[in-house]
């Protein structure tokens, strides 16, 4: 008698597979669900075969079930599902594909980046993003010229995740895209860079026509860790959107731009408590003694978070 005896011993997958040939689509669907629950890697082969099922709901269940598995074989099955004639099946496959984590899964997906359907191109790029394979750089850069804005956005994310400085010029050029959503993704993707070129490009985006692009540019500038953009950030303190001003204040605080202190102080009187909170935090971060009177004047701010930040800032400045 062996030392370890499992409670049950049976070949689960084999047992389920027989039901995949049942004449009733409902039974086949439940068999697919059971295959997903088995978590047995050998199930992927059968799931791929089940993608040829005539019933839409069975194929949909397969696309959902494949999210439970990883690796090149799973990706191989998902690229079949993502080009399915049924939009629901294709969408479920696209979502499952984005769950892949194994870098080897990128190989079957790469050829689909140039697929004739924009939906498939976008789904492939979205899946490639997290797999971070250097081979995706070239096709992603090619997709920067895609006619579809979603595809361009996904391509930018792929390049942003790869964090290669070589791709900076291409990324910066996307800050000039016609579509605001694409410019937003590009502004966010530049955060990995510490070069002054990236900071200068983002500084230009602080005057973008779309306020959300300006907001993301202001936010990303604190990651870039370069003070080249300080004058542009200070100019953004007069932006018509408080959301942009809030992010600009945060970045100025993180970068420790002491010249901005007199321009940040008026925000302590703004109606939006989030802005007052950010201003108090930034003034503390810059540790500017000249901000003490203004901070003391707001010790009784109606918002508890603002009061907390003001006390934190005063403590920091006085401990100098």
């Amino acid at each position: 008698m062996s030392a370890f005896e499992p409670f049950e011993q049976f070949d689960e997958v084999e047992d389920i597979v027989d039901r995949l040939d049942d004449p009733d689509p409902g039974t086949r669907r439940v068999a697919v669900m059971d295959l997903a629950d088995s978590a047995d890697p050998s199930a992927v082969t059968y799931l791929k075969k089940a993608l040829g099922d005539e019933a839409r709901e069975v194929r949909l269940q397969v696309a959902l079930a494949l999210a439970e598995f990883d690796g090149p074989e799973t990706a191989d099955a998902l690229v079949v599902a993502v080009v399915d004639e049924d939009a629901g099946v294709a969408q479920a496959a696209a979502d499952s594909m984005a769950e892949l984590k194994d870098p080897a899964a990128a190989d079957p997906i790469l050829p689909f980046v140039t697929h004739e359907s924009a939906f498939v191109r976008a789904a492939s790029l979205r899946a490639l993003r997290e797999l971070k394979r250097t081979e995706s750089l070239k096709p992603a850069l090619d997709a920067f010229g895609d006619v579809d804005a979603t595809v361009r956005s996904e391509a930018i994310s792929v390049v942003g995740y790869l964090k290669t400085e070589d791709a900076l010029p291409a990324l910066m050029s996307m800050l000039k895209d016609v579509e605001p959503a694409v410019r937003r993704t590009a502004a966010g993707a530049l955060g990995f860079s510490v070069t002054t070129a990236a900071a200068e490009a983002l500084a230009q985006s602080l005057t973008d026509s779309d306020w959300q692009v300006r907001e993301i540019a202001a936010e990303t500038l604190c990651k870039v860790q370069s003070t080249v953009a300080a004058p542009a950030l200070r100019a953004a303190l007069t932006d018509e959107y408080w959301q942009v001003r809030q992010k600009a204040i945060r970045s100025l605080g993180k970068l420790g731009v002491a010249e901005a202190v007199p321009e940040i102080i008026p925000s302590l009187d703004h109606d939006i408590s989030n802005l007052r909170k950010e201003a108090a935090a930034a003034l503390g971060e810059i540790e500017a003694p000249e901000a003490i009177p203004a901070l003391e004047a707001h010790l009784d701010d109606p918002d508890p978070d603002v009061r907390k930040n003001i006390r934190w800032a005063l403590g920091r400045i006085r401990s100098e």
Partner: protein
């Protein structure tokens, strides 16, 4: 006058035409944290056996065919 001995409506309602419990599906029974759903011996479909619902919704969200609907009392909404 007939007396109502049992409540005639429960919060979790299953559309028998959509339910595939008779094919072996037990998703709603498995996800229910209060274990109040069962598969009927007569119809083979899922139903609410005990009216102790928390209105937590996984049975409705996870049902593969969209057969389950949870009716949340107006005052809880």
């Amino acid at each position: 006058m007939p007396l109502a001995q049992q409540s005639s409506s429960v919060p979790v309602v299953v559309d028998d035409d959509k339910c595939i419990a008779d094919k072996g599906c037990t998703v709603c029974v498995d996800v229910c944290p209060l274990d109040v759903l069962r598969i009927s011996d007569q119809t083979g479909k899922a139903f609410m056996k005990y009216d102790e619902c928390w209105y937590c919704m996984p049975c409705e969200a996870d049902c593969p065919t969209g057969a389950v609907s949870v009716h949340i009392p107006f005052l809880l909404r």
